[in-house]
């Protein structure tokens, strides 16, 4: 579009660029995915060779059945969904409410808490005191405690993204709503929230990826098989008894833990990427 070089040279350049990118994408993305899939279909003995060849003996059904039966898969999937969905929704609501307030206020106290919220994205979490606090309030090891901590540590991302976005919005809409007699909550729900949609979508993408794949907090804060999320079930299944890594089962389990996010990505892919590349990330 904006190239200044002559047409032909630029077409050759373009072709070379795509050939290069294509060659780069093979080891970068295609081979890892192929490795994962093809070995999840092999028998234990054959998968231990770790090759990219097609299986000579297919064991797909056995492997995936084992993931479902021994791998605690459905418990993990259920927990992951029951945790990720409410956490993402609550973070989006609380984050956008706070972001509106921060963007429209100059009060010293709020400037300080905004700064602290921004810091919470940039600094590594202090897990052991978190465990201490959760133990004190009786929530250590529980789903509730884990959800609380996830919500608190992720809300800063939404605040940070959305404040930058709201500051660029004119105040006219809110003022009109106020003049029409809408209260703050109504104005938030009917005016501000719809206006924030693009930036919240971007934020939601980052949240879903972060929450769904969270292992660090889950490892420290969730106890017991019954509370395990998918990353934890994957980890304990991969570690499982015998000592030698059962690559076929590890890979089948990786496939099954990754699939929900992949489906969402395939369905929403265009919006995900256009949201991330056009909206708010640099806000």
């Amino acid at each position: 579009m904006s190239t200044t070089s002559p047409m032909q040279a630029s077409r050759l350049q373009q072709t070379l660029k795509y050939i290069f990118l294509g060659i780069f994408a093979v080891p970068w993305v295609a081979v890892p995915l192929w490795m994962l899939l093809v070995n999840s279909f092999k028998t234990e003995g054959e998968s231990s060779v770790l090759s990219l060849a097609l299986p000579t003996e297919w064991a797909a059904v056995e492997n995936y059945t084992k993931v479902f039966t021994e791998g605690n898969y459905f418990v993990g999937l259920g927990n992951s969904l029951l945790i990720a969905i409410p956490v993402v929704v609550v973070v989006l609501i609380l984050g956008s409410m706070a972001a509106w307030a921060y963007a429209r206020s100059n009060a010293m106290g709020l400037r300080v808490t905004f700064f602290i919220s921004a810091m919470s994205i940039m600094l590594p979490p202090a897990i052991i005191p978190t465990i201490f606090i959760l133990t004190k309030i009786g929530l250590q090891g529980t789903t509730w405690g884990y959800m609380l901590v996830l919500t608190a540590t992720k809300v800063g991302v939404i605040i940070f993204l959305a404040v930058g976005f709201v500051r660029t919005l004119p105040t006219d809409y809110e003022e009109a709503a106020q003049l029409d007699g809408a209260g703050r909550l109504r104005t938030y729900w009917h005016v501000i929230l719809p206006l924030m949609r693009p930036v919240l979508f971007t934020g939601a993408v980052m949240l879903v990826i972060g929450v769904w794949n969270d292992f660090l907090f889950a490892l420290f804060l969730l106890a017991g098989k019954a509370n395990a999320t998918l990353p934890l079930t994957l980890y304990s299944f991969a570690l499982a008894p015998t000592g030698a890594v059962r690559w076929n089962l590890v890979f089948a389990s990786v496939v099954m833990t990754s699939i929900p996010l992949f489906i969402a990505y395939v369905v929403l892919q265009r919006r995900v990427l256009s949201g991330l590349t056009e909206g708010g990330t640099t806000g």
Binding site: T4, K17, L21, A25, W28, V31, M35, L36, L50, S51, L94, M97, A98, A101, Y102, R104, N106, G109, L110, T113, I116, S117, M119, S120, I121, M122, L123, P124, P125, A126, P129, T130, I133, L148, V149, A152, T153, V155, T171, I209, F215, L216, F220, L230, P231, Y235, A238, W247, V250, F251, V254, S258, L273, S274, L276, T277, G279, G280, T281, T282
Partner: protein, 308 residues
């Protein structure tokens, strides 16, 4: 300028501010739930960590007592402290570097939203979706001594090639840092594309008219204007790497020896042994490294925000 007029306009809706008394406006109530959460589960733990690092605290006794620098001394005597710091810094630096070079390169190649570019963007974003554990397992298999990478190298190099990438301390550390970068480069790419899209096209045209070649335009126009995206990626990359644990757990388990035992893994080990004081001490070191790196970058970001 704009902020004063905005404030003036808003004044019509708020009660006039009385000095020196706490009169919460709606802003306060709207921010309150988030404030409570952030204070209770980010700030308080963050500050408390600095205290716990100097206490004798184990799973075997309910007493928590001050013990000064004892935890740090113990860790130093075990050879854990300095080594883990070094490993963590190398890991973060390699990961951040690969992420940003790769992300910048891909963003430049794929900036225009053409159909082909969108396909490539979608492909290079895939690793971002994969969990850290999954990434670790996949690459551990690809890098295994008899694995696909070495099979490929054996095919193109004379005399066969056998090398245990994850068995040698140095290559194992570089390899896990590389896997970390592999997982996140797609995100860095999108942030850089957003940054590039925010640069007005006229600037390039003006620079081109003034006779600047593509290379000069890249360094003199793009790079300075990409600074916010750059700081964002650097901070997120480094901080992400500082608390990285899953990739290492899956790929090497911290080994060989303790060659990939970054601070977070070391802290988990102490925690796992019931040694909460020393675990906190290691966690404090992570926090200090994070603060030292993040604060100057955040203030740089904020200064830029004011200017734009």
């Amino acid at each position: 300028m704009t902020s004063t007029t905005r404030q003036g306009r808003r004044g019509a809706f708020n009660a006039p501010r009385r000095p020196r008394r706490f009169h919460p406006t709606w802003h306060f109530w709207f921010a309150l739930p988030a404030i409570i959460l952030v204070l209770a589960f980010f700030l308080v733990p963050f500050l408390a960590n600095a205290g716990f690092a100097f206490t004798q605290w184990t799973a075997y006794s309910s007493d928590i007592t001050w013990n000064g620098f004892e935890n740090f001394r113990t860790l130093a005597d075990l050879g854990v402290l300095g080594h883990a710091v070094l490993i963590t810094l190398v890991y973060a630096a390699v990961s951040m570097l690969v992420q940003n070079v790769g992300g910048l390169f891909l963003a430049n190649a794929l900036q225009e939203p053409t159909r082909v570019n969108n396909v490539f963007r979608a492909v290079f974003f895939i690793p971002v979706l994969v969990s850290g554990l999954a990434a670790g397992y996949i690459w551990a298999a690809l890098l295994a001594a008899q694995g696909p990478l070495n099979q490929f190298l054996s095919a193109i190099l004379p005399g066969g090639f056998v090398y245990s990438w994850l068995g040698n301390p140095v290559s194992a550390l570089v390899a896990v840092a590389f896997v970390d970068a592999w997982k996140w480069v797609g995100l860095a790419m999108t942030v850089y594309i957003a940054g590039l899209n925010a640069i007005p096209k006229q600037l390039f045209e003006a620079a081109a008219l003034d006779g600047a070649g593509p290379w000069r335009r890249f360094w003199k126009v793009k790079v300075p204007l990409l600074a916010p995206a750059f700081s964002f990626n650097v901070v997120i990359g480094i901080v992400g790497a500082l608390s990285s644990l899953d990739i290492i757990f899956a790929a090497t388990g911290g080994g060989p020896g303790d060659a990939t035992t970054v601070l977070q893994v070391a802290s988990y080990r102490q925690y796992g042994q019931g040694l909460f004081g020393t675990a906190s001490a290691l966690s404090l070191v992570i926090a200090v490294i994070g603060v030292v790196i993040a604060i100057p970058l955040i203030s740089a970001l904020r200064r830029r925000e004011v200017r734009l």
